[in-house]
């Protein structure tokens, strides 16, 4: 008889079940010792033992584990944990999301104009081979390119392609080229009811994220506002607009909304990053079991009157419409303001678009105690430049370059917030690429240094941003 949980969790072998059956027969006086292979009763018992083992092996351990969070997390089939999370914790799993981004369609002189319908074009990113389909349409001419929104062909984190990539059109149109250049600034995301907007201009210096908070209701020139740079405490600006934020080359202008309305409303927030990105929604895989189990554990904190770290973790991972895009969360009490909590979030492909951060912030704000301030921010991006000299087979040079590009993008994405970029891993990834003959180990550098790159610290949060194209030299052989 089963006495412990471990006995339920351990699958039994056919021989174990067979021995159990034989023992039962023996106890009842059956001459089991004489039962040889191809004997009737032995064959019957083996068949029964096989059927019981099928149940015991495939079902009993998973049924036993499926009702306990720590054990359900370990089951290979994620359905058990998803069932448990939905039924016991009222926390449904987050399915994979598609990448959505903007790609500009340009038409060469002498070609076009083209009227493009939604779903008509398929763009292929050369390095990754990922395909995207336009989800809106318009007319592109040689004098007026058109920026369209594109959906990844399938959901998944592997669709987090970089900006400024080489893109070709699978559904070719004569004279048409595609580009996904990153602008200086992302679109400005807005949290709150105000009708005004923020216009960032200037020549930005380095990657930053800026949150503008309205401190008193009014219009441009009368509304007081402040800004937070990379998660630092807000700096009061007053009513000045436009205003040049010191040291980062960015000028912020408040722009009124429609007439007869008050454009800026107290506590509204506007978020934008520099540099911009071509994506407006980050692609993500189905929520991992580890992530879902963590949200289930976090769930208990939601019934506490005092918000603990797990509470913030739960909110940002469970924000509707954001779904599985949030895969990394760090909650940290602000070093300067006691009642302020910084919630640093990122996705599988690095920092998330400001619209996603804004959606999370909008979900968090009404759930914050009056005395607490919660700021959802991305980690600071650190540009990463990789260099190496690689010897590869001449006939495989192009596929080698493409595969190494994808491997480097995936690796740098996987490093995560405050991770360590390892030279040895880069060398290993290069050498494991079919067609690569050698890599000059001394030539492998990260940001010009032949050493590992450690991101962030206990008080600063950084995530890597791989600079493309890679500075890899290829020698054909």
């Amino acid at each position: 008889m089963t006495e412990t949980l471990q006995e339920l969790l351990d699958p039994q072998t056919v021989q174990q079940v067979f021995n159990l059956l034989i023992a039962t027969y023996q106890a009842n006086g059956f001459p089991t010792d004489s039962w040889q292979p191809f004997g009737t009763e032995r064959t019957r018992l083996m068949a029964i033992a096989t059927a019981i083992t099928d149940l015991s092996d495939n079902y009993v351990p998973t049924i036993a584990a499926g009702g306990l969070l720590d054990y359900a997390e370990q089951i290979t089939n994620p359905s058990w944990l998803r069932l448990l999370s939905e039924n016991n914790f009222s926390t449904p799993y987050e399915p994979a999301q598609i990448t959505i981004g903007n790609i500009t369609v340009s038409v060469a002189s002498g070609s076009g104009p083209y009227t493009i319908s939604p779903g008509q074009l398929i763009a292929v990113f050369n390095a990754s081979g990922n395909r995207y389909i336009n989800n809106n349409g318009g007319t592109a001419t040689s004098v007026s390119p058109i920026e369209l929104s594109w959906n990844a062909e399938f959901a998944g984190a592997k669709y987090n392609d970089p900006s400024s990539a080489t893109i070709t059109l699978a559904t070719s149109l004569a004279g048409v080229t595609l580009s996904n250049l990153a602008n200086n600034y992302t679109d400005v995301a807005h949290v709150g009811p105000g009708t005004g907007t923020i216009a960032p201009t200037g020549s930005p210096i380095g990657p930053h994220q800026i949150v503008v908070q309205i401190n008193s209701t009014g219009n441009a020139g009368t509304a007081n506002w402040s800004y937070s740079l990379d998660g630092a405490p807000y700096v009061l600006v007053g009513t000045t607009t436009p205003y040049a934020i010191p040291g980062i080359g960015t000028i912020v202008s408040l722009v009124d909304g429609p007439a007869l309305t008050t454009s800026f409303v107290e506590d509204d927030e506007y978020l934008f990053n520099t540099p911009g990105t071509w994506t407006t929604q980050a692609g993500s895989d189905d929520e991992s079991s580890a992530n879902l189990a963590q949200r289930c554990r976090d769930r208990w904190s939601t019934i506490s009157p005092i918000p603990v770290n797990n509470f913030w973790d739960f909110l940002v991972r469970t924000t509707p419409s954001v779904g599985s895009q949030v895969t990394q969360v760090i909650v940290l009490t602000d070093a300067v303001i006691n009642s302020k909590v910084n919630i640093i979030v990122a996705g599988p492909g690095g920092i998330l678009p400001p619209s996603v951060i804004a959606a999370i912030q909008a979900y968090v704000n009404p759930r914050v105690l009056l005395t607490t301030q919660a700021l959802v921010i991305s980690p600071t991006t650190v540009p990463i430049t990789l260099s190496a000299t690689i010897t590869a087979s001449v006939s495989l040079l192009t596929p080698v370059q493409n595969e190494i590009n994808v491997k480097m993008i995936n690796y740098i994405d996987a490093v995560g917030i405050n991770g360590v970029i390892e030279r040895s891993k880069i060398i290993q990834l290069i050498m494991s690429t079919p067609g690569v003959i050698d890599v000059d180990v001394d030539s492998v550098t990260i940001n010009g240094l032949a050493s590992n790159k450690i991101l962030g610290s206990s008080t600063t949060f950084e995530i890597s941003d791989l600079i493309l194209p890679l500075s890899f030299g290829y020698v054909g052989k």
Binding site: V14, Q15, F18, P31, D33, S34, W35, Q36, P37, F38, G39, T40, E41, R42, T43, R44, M46, A47, A49, T50, T53
Partner: protein, 133 residues
């Protein structure tokens, strides 16, 4: 009269069990039926229930055109398969194929002693006829 050693018992089954299970205790019937099932089970047929991986299905030969060489090879296969039974120490088979029926007179020396039987295999059934040793 010498008492035969007890070889245990099993359920009567040649190609199927009977409507009511019949107990078999006669050693040469026990061994003979096991051999008959061994010779009518496709190789690996019991492996799907994690049992002995052996077996040879003689029904596959009944419609085959067989020359002397094939018959000699079949004889070796049959004897080899029968010797896998722990209680068989030697066996002599003499297969003949006539009109789609494979008749295999067999002389077996088991741990109980010698006995003979004829296994008759057609496309649809297998029969065992025991004779005196």
């Amino acid at each position: 009269m010498a008492t035969a050693p007890y070889f245990g018992s099993d359920t009567f089954c040649l190609s199927d069990v009977q409507l009511i299970d019949t107990l078999v205790t006669d050693p040469h019937v026990l061994i003979g039926q096991r051999l008959a099932r061994r010779l009518t089970t496709p190789t690996g047929g019991l492996a799907v229930i994690n049992d002995d991986p052996g077996g040879i299905d003689l029904r596959q030969y009944v419609l085959k055109r067989m020359g002397p060489n094939e018959v000699a090879a079949l004889r070796t296969d049959i004897e080899h398969e029968c010797l896998k039974d722990e209680e068989v120490s030697s066996v002599n088979a003499d297969p003949t194929l006539v009109d789609g029926v494979l008749n295999i007179p067999m002389r077996v020396i088991s741990s109980w002693g010698p006995f003979a039987f004829v296994l008759s295999v057609s496309q649809v059934n297998a029969q065992v006829i025991f004779s005196n040793p």
